[in-house]
């Protein structure tokens, strides 16, 4: 059976209970190809059931909710089913299963969690802020996973006191900080007025990027491996300024 849900944690936990004994369950919060032979169910959040499932999972594995949080952030299409299979396996095993990497359900979840965490790490490096006229910093990005709030936590500590916005243009949401607190909000398009010096700093950075390269040792494949092209869109050093 195909189970549709809204992508929230509580709805997931509700769906987990519904789909628990269905071995061919496919769970999705996006669009799924409907086939004639499969039935579909739309699962709504049931607070009481979700609480029950959460309590039980935490008894079995105290880190289970942080695993769930990470898995649901993934941008991969099968993330919901991967998470479903992992938690079903956990519930059936009755003890933490994180180390059972030879099990399909665990290996898939482990790989998915690893990719999300790796992207968070990458984006700590690849995010680029622009300085606005007001002094606030604005960083557009389009990561594979839904991680702007995680990124914001890192920059809140690092840029203590600076107001900033990290804008996920793909999901149309933003993590916003006034320099001391954090919140997330939907954000479609942002009107940004850059500070007077911003373009000059970007130009200086481009010059640095160009100079620090050693042209006689070109290894483009290696560069693209470490810094995939999909991350280039918001990097000043990879985009010439508009004339």
């Amino acid at each position: 059976m195909i189970y549709f849900y809204d992508g929230s944690k509580d709805a997931f936990l509700t769906a987990l209970l519904y789909a628990f004994s269905d071995d061919d369950a496919v769970l999705t919060s996006g669009r799924a190809q409907l086939s004639l032979s499969q039935k579909t169910v739309f699962v709504c959040t049931d607070k009481r059931r979700a609480e029950k499932a959460k309590k039980r999972l935490l008894e079995l594995d105290k880190d289970s909710m942080s695993d769930l949080d990470t898995l649901l952030r993934s941008g991969e299409e099968d993330r919901d089913t991967v998470a479903l299979n992992y938690f079903k396996f956990l519930a059936k095993a009755g003890k933490p299963v994180r180390g059972m990497l030879a099990e399909d359900a665990v290996a898939a979840a482990d790989a998915c969690i690893r990719r999300v965490n790796f992207e968070v790490h990458r984006m700590h490096g690849f995010l680029r802020f622009m300085e606005c006229e007001s002094g606030a910093l604005y960083a557009p990005c389009a990561p594979d996973a839904d991680i702007v709030d995680l990124l914001a936590r890192h920059f809140l500590v690092r840029l203590k006191g600076y107001p900033f916005v990290i804008h996920d243009t793909k999901r149309q949401k933003a993590a916003v900080s006034d320099g001391t607190k954090l919140f997330t909000a939907p954000l479609g398009q942002a009107e940004v007025v850059l500070s007077a010096d911003e373009e000059a700093w970007q130009a200086l950075w481009r010059e640095y990027y160009k100079t620090v390269n050693i042209p006689s040792r070109e290894r483009l494949k290696q560069m693209r491996g470490y810094m995939p092209v999909r991350y280039w869109k918001f990097l000043p050093e990879k985009n010439d300024p508009p004339n």
Partner: protein, 419 residues
């Protein structure tokens, strides 16, 4: 704001310093901007495949030393520039808050005198920490022959310092960098190491090189062999407590009768092999004697672990379900991550080849050196070397299907009657 021209001049000669790691410091943001990132963080990658983590810049490229391989040496006809400490600080602050960089890598030519230069470097890093309240990563180059007190003071503000050994032997140093001597580089390195240990023991407030020291050697400008270079590295890790030794394949920038004019053909590959061997020394429990003879080079067609395993085939194959971690780490193709996965997963079940594959343990090389649940999927002893070097040659080798090998093994066993 520093001008583009001066930034270019000051970066142009700093870029051959390969050290760019920003790891090892857990410095906290104490009410300003910036903090350490213990795992290190790369912010960009240049077309030469190297990362940009730190802003690499010289305070000055106006040098009184005559190192013959260096483009900034005294008397060379190159544009000269010297930055004001304030210019560097502003550059760091503005690059950092835009998240272009993880910190600063500050070096300098020996400008006017070693003491004068060290004093200026100290001024920059002190200013950054105290006036600009910058708590990001700072790596400062030590200047040979500078006053130890200045160096000590600098170490209180920097996360990491480094003296470049430059060349792997005293003779080469004398020939190519006449004003530097082994002693002018090693003595301050060892002194800093001692002071750092004392600082740690006293548990005082503040910092003293939380990320330790590193060094760098130029490879290919002088005749030393890999065996000699790696023995030097091992000594530095053991005796001077260095965090890293960097190897920089020589890039000819200067025409000089005693220097090679062309980069060595094997340059990049040799450098790569040295790093692989270096990792084996630091993380895989190898000693240099196991890897290469003093008067020899590492093989280029095989990675050093494969080469070691081929010389020690009597130790293999090992059973993945029983071999201790330190033995797994010595299997070619199994790295720290795979070894960890195997030791975790085998607590719960007996691992066979399909389980290893599922766990994404790369078996291309490893299959010749392991058994999984008693089964061996590798090639015959005399074929292994050829298969391993062939894999290295084909740059875009396709990942082969494990079971196609199981098949050929079965076919062979049918042919020979051996089980």
């Amino acid at each position: 704001m520093i001008s583009e021209d001066r930034l270019r001049i000051l970066t142009e000669s700093a870029k051959y310093d390969v050290s760019c790691s920003s790891s090892g410091s857990g410095r906290k943001n104490e009410g300003g901007i910036g903090n350490g990132y213990a795992a290190g963080c790369c912010h960009s990658f240049t077309p030469d495949g190297r990362c940009i983590s730190l802003l690499k810049i010289l305070l000055s490229n106006d040098c009184i030393f005559h190192c013959r391989y260096c483009m900034s040496r005294a008397g060379a006809d190159v544009p000269r520039a010297t930055a004001e400490p304030q210019e560097i600080c502003e550059l760091v602050m503005d690059f950092y808050k835009r998240n272009y960089i993880e910190g600063l890598f500050l070096s300098s030519a020996v400008h006017i005198s070693p003491d004068y230069t060290m004093e200026r470097l100290l001024e920059v890093v002190k200013k950054l920490r105290t006036e600009y309240k910058f708590f990001g990563y700072v790596h400062v180059k030590g200047i040979p022959r500078a006053d130890p007190l200045l160096v000590h003071e600098t170490a209180k503000y920097a996360d990491r310092m480094s003296y470049n050994i430059e060349l792997p032997s005293e003779e080469s140093l004398k020939l190519l960098a006449p004003q530097k001597s082994r002693e002018s580089l090693l003595v301050p390195m060892l002194r800093l190491q001692r002071e750092r240990a004392e600082f740690k023991a006293e548990r005082k407030k503040g910092h003293f090189l939380p990320a330790g020291q590193t060094t760098q050697m130029i490879v290919g400008a002088s005749p030393e062999r890999d065996g000699k270079i790696l023995r030097l590295s091992e000594g530095l890790y053991r005796n001077a407590g260095l965090k890293r030794v960097y190897y920089s394949s020589y890039v000819p920038l200067v025409h000089d009768g005693i220097l090679p004019d062309e980069p060595a053909a094997a340059g990049a590959c040799r450098e790569h092999r040295l790093y692989q061997a270096d990792w084996l020394l630091r993380f895989y429990g190898f000693s240099v004697e196991e890897l290469v003879e003093e008067g020899e080079d590492l093989p280029l067609d095989l990675d050093p672990k494969c080469a070691w395993a081929l010389r020690n085939l009597h130790l293999f194959p090992v059973e993945v379900n029983r071999a201790p971690l330190e033995v797994l780490l010595r299997v070619p193709g199994i790295g720290a991550r795979s070894a960890y996965k195997i030791t975790e997963a085998r607590k719960y079940t007996t691992l066979d080849f399909s389980a290893l594959k599922k766990m994404r343990v790369v078996l291309k090389r490893a299959r010749h050196f392991i058994t999984a649940n008693g089964k061996f999927c590798g090639a015959a002893e005399r074929e292994i070397r050829g298969l391993l070097t062939a894999g290295e040659r084909a740059e875009n080798a396709v990942q082969l299907d494990l079971f196609s090998y199981a098949e050929t093994e079965r076919a062979r066993s049918v042919r020979t009657g051996e089980l």
